[in-house]
């Protein structure tokens, strides 16, 4: 037992990432999500060669459908794990969180990639996107330009770089001596630039997550006054922060449930604590803004908009308050529930001004069509399937060192066993050898 939490009996189960090794790679859930992903991507290909109109239910009053408003504007908040957890770990020096950085990084990378794929298949004249290469053609007043530049660079450069170590690690341990030597040579320069890349990996999402909110500023009065505010960029950023923290908590718990890994309530409790603080900051700005703009009375007017606001707030304030209690933070079920609810609240906050509280002058209505929904589900399933695969191939999900050592021997032995065409039976858990 390696307890290193003063005054608590929690065990430090999470010491390094360990691949999920005791299960086959292809499982029914993977096949299920893979099939959904294949369907979504096939539809996306069809969409690329056909006009947008018949495919999607978007119209001129609601020109943005769920691909933009949900996959990009809303889901990338869940993908802000690298930003939120990373800043806590590297800027505010919460060392415990380093073990969960990989989970955050992989999930964040997948959310961003699938969001960018969704964006790519949503624009109507994608062939003109090459104009991004000519800075003199950029309209620097436009939040849309900022996102078009910042998000791809972030995902392809900074997030990809931060995910390099876990890929390189696999090649190191499964590769030839030449590979090992090459990787050993690559490591020092990568380490030298690592802090700068990490800096960029926080500056860029700070910019584009707030610009996602900034997009909605131009919509002006089309967005209900309870949501339309000059503070939209800041609020979107804070919502990204709290969603990132909440989602990393949620996904760690779900992954450990699915793969029977022990959990580390010290780390998760820390995440829960940070989630609670971030939520309070968000709520402070939210209600401070409503008060400053004189909208508090309509926030409590109990008409349908007020009820929506109160519901979204409840989804955030309940976890925020609950997670102040150490008991809640250290009980798996309550921690899971609170993280899930907080994520939903953050997502709802980011989604509402784009569609639900968005009221163009025309008496218009928008609900996504079936192909639109299938494509959205497809992109999300792609992320889920890829995450599941990543956990099996790379050392992402945290475990303890005993687990790592056991994994090493297990994998080596299985390979030998396969080569010798015999099976070895292994004890079920790493603690019995």
């Amino acid at each position: 037992m390696q307890a290193n939490h003063a005054g608590s009996t929690l065990v430090n189960h999470w010491q390094r990432g360990v691949p999920v090794y005791r299960e086959p790679v292809v499982t029914p859930p993977l096949l299920f999500f893979g099939a959904l992903a294949a369907l979504g991507l096939a539809l996306a290909l069809v969409r690329f060669f056909s006009p947008l109109g018949p495919f999607a239910a978007m119209n001129d009053a609601y020109a943005w459908g769920i691909w933009k408003t949900f996959n990009v504007l809303t889901l990338t908040a869940l993908g802000s794990g690298p930003l939120a957890v990373g800043m806590a770990a590297w800027v505010f020096n919460r060392k415990k969180l380093h073990t969960v950085m990989r989970t955050a990084l992989v999930s964040g990378f997948l959310f961003y990639s699938t969001g960018l794929i969704a964006l790519g298949f949503d624009v109507g004249r994608a062939w003109n996107f090459y104009n991004i290469l000519f800075p003199w053609r950029w309209n620097t007043h436009s939040a849309m330009l900022e996102i078009s530049f910042c998000m791809p660079v972030y995902a392809a450069l900074f997030l990809a770089f931060e995910n390099l170590p876990l890929v390189m690690e696999r090649f190191y341990y499964t590769g030839t001596d030449a590979t090992k030597a090459f990787l050993r040579k690559c490591a020092p320069p990568l380490r030298r630039i690592y802090p700068f890349m990490v800096t960029g990996a926080y500056v860029f999402p700070l910019m584009h997550q707030s610009s996602l909110g900034g997009l909605l500023l131009l919509a002006g009065d089309k967005i209900h006054p309870l949501w339309q505010t000059p503070f939209l960029p800041l609020l979107y950023l804070l919502a990204a922060g709290l969603c990132g923290l909440g989602f990393v908590t949620f996904i760690l718990l779900i992954a450990c449930l699915h793969h029977s890994r022990p959990i580390d309530l010290g780390v998760l409790g820390e995440l829960g604590n940070l989630l609670s603080c971030a939520s309070f900051v968000f709520l402070a700005v939210r209600f401070g803004d409503l008060a400053w703009r004189g909208q508090l009375h309509s926030a409590f007017a109990l008409d349908k908009w007020s009820l929506l606001l109160l519901f979204e707030t409840a989804l955030i304030v309940v976890p925020a308050v609950a997670l102040r209690s150490k008991v809640v933070r250290e009980t798996p079920r309550t921690l899971f529930n609170m993280a899930m609810i907080a994520c939903l609240g953050g997502l709802l906050y980011r989604f509402i001004p784009t569609t639900i509280a968005f009221a163009p002058a025309h008496k218009a209505i928008y609900f996504p069509s079936l192909p639109e929904l299938l494509m959205t589900v497809g992109y999300i399933s792609l992320g889920i399937a890829a995450f599941g695969l990543a956990m099996k191939y790379f050392a992402v999900l945290p475990g303890d060192i005993a687990e790592w050592n056991y994994m090493f021997r297990y994998v080596r032995a299985r390979r030998a066993a396969v080569r010798a065409e015999g099976e070895t039976t292994w004890p079920a858990s790493p603690s019995t050898r």
Partner: protein
């Protein structure tokens, strides 16, 4: 042009001189000029004047142009339509305005006399006369299907038409083949322009066409030596630049959606639009909707309740079934319908809504089921889903964990 007409051996008089000699009243001539102005309101310099008096003044000075009128595979309908005007007696006026040298239906002579007249006219006015052609020309079997004085029509056309200053192809048959050219076109009937593509030809299609169109063309030619502006099918723009639909008296019914469904129904009795009976008005260029026939208002196909068959158009007449409905190519905004302020947009698919509801429900359900798998014991760090039910395990999760290593 004009000077050569004057110095020809046959003396040609001006229209004024002729009218005076024949005792046609000034009033009748002015009525003719009014009709001409209505027939050709735009694009014709001779009628582009303020009053019939001015038109008459201009026309009076015009030297009567010699006209040779040929008939080939025709029904003589075009000539008949020219003569079917009696207020005033146009037959007389026509014969006084133009110098009709040869016309098989109207001339007194026949046989050898007629042949000689033709030859003489062609010789005397070679290069100066206007040749009017009525009827299509058969080209099948070396053109034996129609012969004039033993010569095939093709040969006559080449001879007489070839020496004309200008050719006017009157009627659909002469313009593009007309009825004889209908499927399977056994005689190989074609229009004048198909045989003499390089001559100056004015097509005046119609079955029959409006007589005033012909007069406008001929008189302009006589007055200035030039022909009116023609479109790509060599039809004078002043008469063929608009389609029936644009000026139809029943247009208000079309715009309001009042259509006749079958002959004799109530709508038909009320004079509603004939579009659904296959009226070709929208695709047919002609002036019939403003200039009716026989000088009696509403004496024209649509006016009497028969849908237009598109008799001027090569691609429609005698090819497209009479009762087949055509597409409207230039739909205009009907005068009595307006868009509302901020019309509604967007539709909701019930299937999509249902699927979304199911998926959201499934996700929430899965979330609930998943949450049940987590331990409610504080500090329980064992792998979720593997721990024993909440009733077992340490009594309170706060104190030491002797059971665990």
């Amino acid at each position: 042009m004009l000077s050569s007409l004057v110095t020809s051996s046959r003396v040609l008089e001006t229209i004024d001189e002729r009218l005076m000699r024949c005792g046609v009243s000034r009033r009748a001539f002015l009525q003719f000029c009014s009709s001409l102005m209505i027939a050709a309101p735009f694009g014709l310099p001779i009628t582009d004047k303020q009053t019939p008096e001015e038109v008459a003044h201009g026309l009076g000075k015009v030297i009567r142009p010699p006209v040779i009128w040929l008939h080939f595979q025709d029904c003589t309908g075009c000539t008949e339509t020219l003569l079917r005007n009696s207020h005033p007696d146009l037959g007389d006026l026509i014969l006084n305005i133009i110098s009709l040298e040869y016309h098989e239906t109207l001339m007194a002579g026949s046989g050898k006399q007629a042949e000689e007249t033709l030859a003489e006219a062609v010789r005397n006015y070679s290069g100066k006369y206007v040749c009017v052609v009525e009827g299509s020309i058969p080209t099948g079997e070396k053109g034996i299907y129609m012969k004039l004085a033993g010569r095939p029509a093709m040969e006559v056309l080449h001879d007489v038409g070839g020496k004309a200053a200008a050719i006017i192809a009157i009627g659909s048959c002469a313009s593009w083949g007309g009825i004889p050219s209908a499927d399977p076109n056994p005689t190989g009937a074609v229009g004048v322009a198909d045989l003499l593509p390089h001559k100056t030809i004015v097509n005046i299609p119609g079955c029959p066409p409006n007589p005033y169109t012909l007069l406008g063309v001929v008189l302009q030619f006589a007055a200035s030596g030039s022909l009116p502006e023609l479109d790509e099918e060599r039809r004078p723009k002043f008469a063929f630049d608009r389609n029936i639909h644009e000026h139809c008296p029943r247009r208000a019914h079309f715009d309001a959606g009042r259509f006749v469904k079958q002959f004799g129904d109530q709508g038909h009795r009320e004079g509603w639009c004939l579009y659904e009976l296959g009226c070709k008005g929208p695709d047919t260029h002609a002036g019939c909707s403003t200039r009716h026939f026989n000088e009696i208002p509403d004496v024209w196909p649509i006016g009497i309740g028969a849908p237009c068959i598109g008799c001027t158009e090569k691609s429609i007449a005698f090819r497209v079934p009479m009762f087949k409905v055509v597409q409207i190519h230039t739909p205009a905004n009907p005068p009595d319908t307006y868009a509302p302020i901020n019309a509604p947009q967007g539709t909701v698919s019930p299937v999509a809504t249902g699927v979304t509801g199911l998926v959201v429900g499934a996700l929430l359900g899965a979330g609930y089921v998943a949450s049940r798998k987590f331990s409610t014991v504080r500090g329980d760090e064992s792998a979720p889903g593997t721990q024993s039910p909440p009733s077992a395990g340490p009594p309170d999760g706060g104190e030491g964990s002797e059971e665990r290593k």
